[in-house]
């Protein structure tokens, strides 16, 4: 799978007979990109799966909840004001994701609990609000950098580096392990917050862990590749169709399936109109939006 992903592209590479420039394409451009795509997919799908269980809502998704946009704004702020500090970007992305999560959660929460529509609506409001700030910010940037950013906002893996890959790999690994460890508690949260409380879950702690690590996952993914949307929606949904609702399966399997999904989507993004490229987020949204509508109607 990874082998075919690195060989297919605007320049077709045979993995066994490589010329010198082809080696450069393989090792310096394509390999880090495919590896990064896999990690970004894992991050987003695991964040989506755990947020869905926590919020009792199969439509919760980092992109739709505004979490990705929060991370994007954080990344841009770091890029504009803290350009000299490379490490500031994922940190600011994490902060942005965390703040957006908390704001949406507080908006969606009411005395009567939280319903599907309210959560989605709060997500839309936060997303559009953050988008407008991002647009304001891009007008501060000069034209050459602006083009890069509009592409990046839609989800773009073309700037992949090994450093970005290592960081995302670390986040994906730690995040998946920690969130899988909460899966049994999440099984109860998914049934109902009150049920969870009655049957022994410290819901405040679980909520903190899930919000925190989902923000880490989304933050690192967005800092590396922009907002690739709908991964956290489609992947857990498909996984649940295959293995049921038990989060001890759903969370780790989402990591693997999310990785495969984004690698495939990126392959299409690189080859569909080669030698030019599409943002990978456009491909995932093309698949994801219909799935969202289907899930919304079924609710």
């Amino acid at each position: 799978m990874l082998g075919s992903a690195v060989s297919i592209g605007s320049e077709r590479l045979s993995l066994f007979e490589l010329t010198e420039p082809q080696r450069a394409i393989l090792y310096d451009i394509r390999a880090p990109r495919v590896l990064l795509a896999a990690c970004v997919g894992a991050c987003l799908a695991v964040a989506g799966a755990s947020l869905q269980a926590l919020l009792r809502n199969p439509l919760a998704e980092p992109y739709l909840l505004g979490v990705s946009n929060g991370a994007a704004l954080g990344t841009m702020l770091a890029f504009v004001f803290l350009e000299r500090f490379g490490f500031a970007r994922p940190l600011m992305a994490f902060a942005g994701a965390g703040i957006a999560t908390i704001v949406v959660y507080q908006m969606a929460r009411s005395r009567a609990g939280m319903n599907v529509e309210r959560l989605v609506l709060s997500g839309v409001i936060v997303t559009t609000f953050l988008s407008s700030i991002i647009v304001l910010l891009t007008s501060v940037l000069d034209a050459a950098r602006l083009r890069g950013f509009t592409f990046w906002l839609l989800g773009d893996l073309s700037q992949a580096t090994y450093d970005g890959f290592y960081l995302t790999l670390a986040a994906a690994t730690v995040g998946t392990i920690v969130l899988s460890s909460q899966a049994r508690a999440l099984n109860l949260m998914m049934i109902g917050e009150r049920d969870a409380l009655d049957f022994g879950v410290e819901i405040g702690r679980v909520r903190l862990i899930v919000f925190g690590f989902a923000s880490v996952l989304v933050g690192t993914a967005v800092a590396a590749s922009g907002s690739v949307g709908y991964v956290g929606l489609i992947v857990p949904h498909l996984v649940r169709l295959a293995v049921g609702s038990d989060n001890r399966l759903v969370v780790p399997m989402s990591a693997v399936s999310g990785a495969i999904f984004v690698v495939l989507a990126d392959m299409i993004a690189r080859t569909a109109i080669a030698p030019r490229e599409l943002p990978v987020g456009a491909i995932t949204a093309l698949v994801g939006a219909p799935v969202f509508i289907y899930l919304l109607r079924r609710n």
């Binding site: 199969p58 049994r184 109902g192 409380l197 049957f199 022994g200 410290e202 649940r240 609702s245 609710n299």
Partner: protein, 274 residues
Amino acid sequence: MRGHAACRSYFRLLSQKGMLKVHNISVKYGTRNVVSDVSFELGTPTIVALIGPNGAGKTTLIRSLNGTVPISQGGIELDGKKLNELSRREIARNIAVVAQENETKFPVTVLEYVLSGRFANGSAFGWETETDIAIARKALDECDLGEFYNRLMNELSGGERQRVVLARAIATDARILLLDEPTANLDLAHQAQMFRLVRERCRGCDASAIVITHDLNLAAEFADEVLLLKGGEVFAYGKPKDVLTETNLNEVYNVQVLLDENPTSGRVRVTMKY
């Protein structure tokens, strides 16, 4: 006693003197007292029917007993320990709740649902053991849900779901059951079955239960004690025949009733005069 797997442990039985003591508790929503100055002790094995008009504070009282609604005054002791010093897991191991089931949007199977009740008994991580699964299946069998293991919760009828919720509570090791209108969605046969199961559980396992119900005759039939709430305060507390009196019911519900004896059980029987 048909050895309930959940209560085999002899040592647990030894330590359950007193169980739940409630001293002068009040619960406030904003500035309004929803529960005022309620005191009682729950020994074993006892079934207490909690009755009273809508808005009397029944649900709030039950929710405060397992610490999910904070009390503003007074104290609750569980086996001699202060409830607010126990962790959620410790409380859940001792107190199980049967509440109105709220629909879940995820495809959860009946067995998964019942197993979720075992959360506090094992590790908070990892998987249920063989024992957990055996206990869950036994609870489902007892509740007449033998062939429902792999059905999805949101495919069941309201009454079936309500029985699954009871099965989950039975599948815990808890010796105190709190039931909030467990018979609300049930047909006649399953209403009686629900109370029979609760009674069997209480006698068999030396457990006790507090049951909210609007059916005064079921309360009279199955409860050892009746607690009548009015405006958040205990209006009367005692044996069914002492609480379910014409004056009490007239004063609390503002209705005229006829009281006589149930010819089959000899318990008090309430008939409305319309």
